[in-house]
């Protein structure tokens, strides 16, 4: 080898080494980049944008207090468009940009694309809002953490909560979309009603099924009106649920039922229906700053203050808390790990307990399922802006209502002790 060639090779090697070191140093000293992938457009946007706001506030709160590991947090936000393929593309793009900490999956449809990808990308993925059972069952991998209750816990707890607050309602019925989620949520709800009814004397009638995207519910409403039920679970979500209430109200369904529980639209329905909100409407909720236990929680007060300051809106949607909690889970994991490296953050989060506006939360080590209190709000009409109000919150300790951890195994309710 000629001396000149050898010198060139050494110089190139040194340059490459210095360059890499400089890049590494820049990455360690610059902002800590966190990928965020929610449904910010399309039919999932009303949910995704609320998660986004909560996540933004979490990052702002941490940055205000000095950041994480001495670095400011920078959210790199992408729109998954409520589309599974898009969520996969977004995750790959973020991983390609060197981001290994990702918050996403504001709905199950996008989480199902995101979850299996996490090990390949060597990323920590927070599944923020997807309640579908596969996430912590057959799709489970150690890189994902779910920061909401799953469907079984959520709707079993909901059924229990409603029968405990309305023991006088003896006959129940559900209307739900004819799909996996609709069938499951109605089944879990109904089973819990029967199980926790005083004296176990509640009757649950056959569920009335419809299409999840249907716009005309008159046939189903007629069947509900003709039933003997006094309590109703509405498993239809989104815009379809509001159409259901519009059409139901006009034929007297509000007078027939003593209580209605709905799948989780919450304030979306309240805001749309306003003065015409059903007067005893119970909803899966996450947060209401004016009511206990949130009222006396300083973290809740701070979240409310930050939300109002950043939006000018005095009526924050409950999902904002879910978005903030999801981000805080990841931030606290990084803080505890004293590192942003994937393996260190995973190890730290598996034993993590962190405080939220809704009380303390932790993860079940076996399947990375969040253990937290489940909240249910009672909503009704109001004469004051925004023309609906949350009257009270009920709560159930989700640890009492969780199925045994079975990572990698498909969930089947028949496997549970009846």
């Amino acid at each position: 080898m000629k001396r000149r060639t050898l010198l060139k090779g050494l110089a190139a090697g040194a340059g490459l080494s210095l360059g890499m070191k400089a890049t590494y140093l820049r990455a360690q000293s610059g902002p800590l980049k966190i990928g965020v992938s929610y449904a910010l457009s399309g039919v999932g946007a009303p949910v995704g944008t609320q998660f986004m706001k909560g996540t933004e506030i979490a990052a702002m709160q941490v940055n205000r207090d000095g950041g994480l590991l001495g670095r400011q947090i920078e959210l790199v936000v992408r729109d998954d468009k409520y589309n599974s393929a898009e969520s996969v593309a977004v995750a790959r793009e973020l991983a390609g940009a060197g981001i290994n900490l990702l918050i996403g999956g504001s709905q199950t449809v996008t989480a199902l694309g995101l979850a299996p990808l996490a090990p390949e990308l060597n990323a920590v993925v927070i599944i923020a809002g997807a309640a579908g059972m596969p996430v912590t069952h057959e799709l489970f991998n150690r890189n994902i953490f779910r920061t909401v209750a799953n469907n079984y816990t959520q709707y079993s707890s909901f059924g229990r909560s409603l029968i405990e607050t309305h023991p006088e309602v003896k006959t129940w019925i559900s209307i739900a979309p004819d799909g996996d989620f609709g069938r499951d949520s109605a089944l879990f709800f109904g089973n819990a009603v029967k199980k926790y009814a005083p004296g176990k004397d509640a009757t649950v009638l056959d569920t009335i099924f419809t299409q999840g995207t249907a716009t005309d519910f008159r046939t189903q409403i007629n069947a509900l009106m003709s039933s003997k039920a006094e309590g109703l679970y509405v498993g239809i979500a989104g815009a379809a649920q509001i159409s259901f209430f519009q059409q139901a109200r006009g034929v007297g369904l509000y007078d027939k039922f003593k209580v209605i529980g709905e799948v989780g639209n919450g304030e979306v329905t309240g805001k749309a229906m306003g003065r015409n909100t059903y007067p005893n409407l119970w909803s899966i909720s996450y947060w209401n700053n004016d009511l206990e236990p949130f009222k006396s929680n300083p973290l809740s007060q701070q979240l409310y203050k930050d939300y109002v300051e950043s939006t000018g809106n005095k009526f924050p949607p409950a999902l904002v808390m879910a978005g903030q909690r999801s981000a805080m889970a990841l931030f606290e994991g990084v803080r505890k790990a004293k590192s942003s490296e994937t393996d260190a953050v995973i190890a730290a989060m598996e034993d993590l307990t962190f405080q939220t506006p809704g009380g303390p939360c932790s993860f079940r080590k076996e399947d990375h399922q969040l253990i937290a209190t489940s909240y249910y709000s009672q909503m009704g009409p109001s004469d004051k802006d925004p023309f609906y109000k949350i009257m009270q919150m009920a709560q159930i300790d989700s640890s009492q209502m969780m199925e045994p951890a079975a990572p990698g195994v498909k969930f089947d309710i028949k496997d549970l002790p009846q």
């Binding site: 004819d178 005309d216 509001i242 519009q246 059409q247 006009g250 003065r275």
Partner: protein, 293 residues
């Protein structure tokens, strides 16, 4: 069974008339201009938003409700005037592919405008107090609002039939639709007739938006729930035929209602079977266009 049949009949008629209110403008403009306006549902949506903005969530009375729907019709009709000047009028003599692309773009534009003005939130509008209740027939609960929709749908059909078959304006439009060149040679102002046809079609979409908004969640997607059936009705009825579209809408409504009542586990499938049967047995539709309308 009798109770269920009565319910199917009422429900089917109500759905059919709702479809017709949307489809009437669509088939009107196709009959005269031979334009398949993919943005028709978007203007229906804008009509619904305008009615909500003017009338609020709870209309004060039946007449206020209808008045607001008419105002929405006027507003959307004016939009039709602008659209004709800047978009449709420039597409008179081009290949229909360009028309489809242009109206599709127009639909996206309208949705973007609606989102910018009203946001992504959902809204709801209640029926006027006079019809905000139900009557019980047998074991079936029939909303008075659905009876109102049936009545308005029948009235709209009667007015359109009257205009097209009994009035000079309709005869002029039919003449232009049949042979615009010949119509021009006998002194008819063809561009003016075409422009007025677009305005009328858009106004019908706006009126439908104002009348039907109490039945649906108001969002930028509100048009999609009706427009699919409107297109199916136009195809089954015969492109450009108001009479055919009217009958097709009733057929679609009844079939869908019977499907939901008697075969709920196969929701929505009967409508597509009906369409398939018509496409095979009578692809030209019930009243095929012989010069249209």
């Amino acid at each position: 069974m009798i109770n269920q049949s009565v319910f199917v009949l009422f429900n089917g008629l109500a759905s059919g008339m709702a479809f017709f209110l949307v489809a009437a403008g669509l088939t009107w403009v196709f009959g005269i201009l031979k334009i398949l306006n993919l943005a028709h549902g978007a203007f229906f949506m804008l009509g619904a938003y305008i009615a909500y903005t003017i009338g609020g969530a709870s209309p004060g009375s039946l007449w206020a409700f209808i008045g607001v729907a008419l105002l929405a019709a006027i507003a959307i009709g004016m939009m039709g005037l602008v659209t004709d000047k800047f978009v449709l009028g420039r597409l008179r003599n081009v290949d229909y592919h360009y028309v489809l692309i242009a109206t599709f773009g127009l639909m996206l534009f309208c949705e973007g405008v609606a989102k910018a003005i009203w946001g992504s939130d959902y809204y709801s509008v209640m029926p006027p107090p006079e019809v905000d209740t139900a009557v019980k027939i047998g074991s079936s609960y029939i909303s008075l609002y659905t009876i109102l929709v049936i009545a308005i749908g029948l009235a709209a059909f009667a007015v359109l039939e009257l205009i097209m078959n009994r009035m000079w304006a309709g005869k002029i439009m039919r003449a232009v639709a049949n042979d615009p060149w010949m119509a021009g040679t006998i002194g008819i102002n063809v561009p003016m007739v075409l422009m007025l046809s677009v305005v009328a079609s858009f106004a019908l979409a706006g009126f439908a938006g104002g009348i039907l908004v109490p039945n649906q969640t108001l969002s930028v997607h509100v048009g999609s729930s009706f427009i699919l059936y409107a297109f199916l009705a136009v195809v089954i009825g015969g492109l450009g035929s108001i009479r055919g579209t009217f009958i097709a809408c009733i057929l679609l409504g009844l079939v869908e209602s019977a499907n939901a009542t008697f075969l709920p586990e196969y929701g929505g499938i009967a409508v597509y079977i009906l369409l398939a049967v018509f496409l095979v047995a009578r692809p030209q539709g019930l009243f095929p266009p012989q010069g249209a309308l």
